[in-house]
Amino acid sequence: MTKPRTYQTPAIVIKKTKLGEADRILTFYTPELGKIQGVAKAVRKPKSKLSGHLEMLSYSLVTLARGKNIDTVIGSQTLKPFLAIKNDLDLLSCALYITEMVNQFTPPETEDPQIFNLLAFTLEQLPEAADRELLLRYFELHLLRQAGYRPELEKCVMCRKTLETVTNSFAPSAGGMLCPSCQRLGRHYGYLLSPDGLGVMRFIQGGDWESISVVPVDCSTIAEIERLIRSYIRHLLEKEIKSALWLDSLKLESSQSGKV
């Protein structure tokens, strides 16, 4: 199959790396090509006509020219500017976390329109969401599912029995829930999860945002779920998501200054 010399695709910039004096290597997530990379020449100079369209989180229509080692970005036009995100520290920090997650959980050049839709949708909803933390949990659980790491929440992963309405455990290394008797075997480290917490987690995992967003969820329950998902992500990647640490420090500071 011969590929065209230049091609055009909608793309969201999920990572950028400096290259040489003024160039950048950009990592895009696209609907039909998955995660791709392109070099943007002289984009760090103020006179670059491309720069504003190719910053992190830019949702643009990009044109690339095929190269031997890496493709070159030759054109870009903003489709959605996400202004509300870029003008708010907390929103911007959440958005960076979202892009870092997508980058970490996707292989290069593997088409997955659902992940693209999830990424674009979450960024769009971010400024509007009444409960931002709930939206982040929705994003995480749906990204994990799409990436092939859907945690098992219905049955015990060891004995396969349906979980009872008691305090069960979430075991990152087992990829899901353990019933109390399997947890007692001590083969996996498990975090206790209340029936309420498990119910909410199942609800987020199984539902669409329209139905989830209208249900008020206790913020301590969301924090409980966040801790479990975080340890599951850490187990899968064998490292931390760096922006999550930044989000933590922002949250800590705002709670110390009495702001919620």
Partner: protein, 203 residues
């Protein structure tokens, strides 16, 4: 590098390796620079080596603004002609060079030595923020101008600075983020344009 040249000695390879560590220098350029140095005179080589060493030995960071200097405090902080009540915050010492080149600004600076980059793991503790807040809390300063880059990292840093500095009750301004000089309106991106409109001035 996979291929080592047959005639390359350890000394040659060592220099190639050191050059390759420099920003923007790939293995090919590192090789080119190394073979250039092989042909250079002893005097030229000595001059380069001296310059490199004295860069480390004779420069330090200004204890007030963290600019690179050969005297502490730096010439800008020492200059009585410059307004000590005005502090312009930049990411890198090179930014001061660019601003000083214009010669319009008459206040002082603070160099952060970086910008907050959540995805790279660069947080508030990794740049010179504590020193800035201590300096601003010390009194005598009425206005800070945030001059971080118009990038995601620069914006994150700017908004975080605003959050930190607001309780101190100082005037906070941001370098106008309008259209860069020489660009055409039609090629400007929406963020730039909207800010150019927001930041418009009486004409």
């Amino acid at each position: 590098m996979e291929k080592t040249l047959p005639q390359a000695t350890d000394a040659v390879n060592r220099l190639i390796q050191e050059f390759s560590k420099l920003p923007g220098v790939g293995p090919k350029s590192a090789q080119r620079l190394t073979y250039y140095m092989l042909r250079a005179s002893v005097e030229q080589t000595q001059a380069l080596a001296d310059a490199l060493l004295s860069l480390k030995q004779k420069t330090q960071l200004c204890s007030c603004c963290f600019n690179i200097t050969d005297t502490d405090v730096c010439q800008i902080c020492r200059n009585p002609q410059r307004n000590p009540a005005l502090v312009l915050i930049v990411e890198q010492p090179q930014d001061i060079l660019a601003l000083e080149h214009m010669g319009i600004y008459k206040g002082r600076y603070h160099v952060l030595h970086g910008a907050i980059s959540p995805t790279e793991g660069v947080g508030s503790g990794d740049i010179r923020l504590k020193e800035l807040i201590a300096r601003l809390s010390g009194g005598g300063i009425t206005e800070v101008i945030i001059g971080t880059n118009p990038t995601v990292e620069g914006e994150t840093t700017a908004m975080y600075l605003k959050r930190l500095i607001t309780p101190l009750g100082l005037r906070i301004t941001r370098l106008a983020r309008g259209l860069p000089f020489g660009t055409e309106l039609e090629y400007a991106d929406d963020v730039t344009l909207s800010r150019a409109i927001e930041g418009r001035q009486e004409f």
